[in-house]
Subunit: 109 residues, 2 copies
């Protein structure tokens, strides 16, 4: 598994549009066969700071995400809305180790 | 729901002990009634950098975690092993919104 925490700072005037575009990306991402989680979070201390928590079963699955139409659309759409470049930190998983307990239930599509 | 990302930098000589103590904390935490997730992650770019991803159904549940024996033991045990103070960023959840899809399956206890 690979778990990536992405920190995004959005320009205040684009926050609502960013949320809308990111929910759309979330809906597409959780439908990917190798995706286990795609959580969208907003910092309580700063309404312009967001975390995306993206977990894939394999490195290949994480790489495949970047080739999807929903990711490419999101990346191009939000590019001009960011206050600074987003930062992703990729992790190995220590616990829990069973990929099945990571899976977001598919409620879309 | 409240989702907290905690970043921890551990002194190299204590990394293995930190992992052991944190897995024990994970096992206790996922048994808490309000806990939805307690993921333990290690950064691929830095073997001394860890992320704890802690999700609780309510603020009260997140507060109750800090009163548990397993948390207090972990906090005291790892205090001297950290290269710098740990940093937690608390978030509101934007997606997914159903708490049921967040839950770590209880495999312990």
């Amino acid at each position: 598994m690979i778990a990536t925490c992405v920190t995004v700072y959005v320009l205040p005037e684009y926050v609502e549009q960013f949320i809308e575009a990111t929910i759309e990306n979330h809906r597409g991402s959780v439908m990917e066969p190798e995706n286990l989680r795609f959580d969208v979070l907003r910092a309580k201390s700063d309404p312009c700071r967001f975390t995306l928590y993206e977990v894939y079963r394999t490195e290949a699955g994480a790489a495949a995400h970047k080739e999807t139409a929903h990711y490419k659309k999101w990346k191009d759409t939000v590019a001009e809305w960011m206050a600074k470049p987003r930062e992703g930190v990729a992790h190995d998983v220590i616990a829990p180790l069973d990929p099945e307990v990571w899976k977001t239930e598919r409620k879309y599509g």
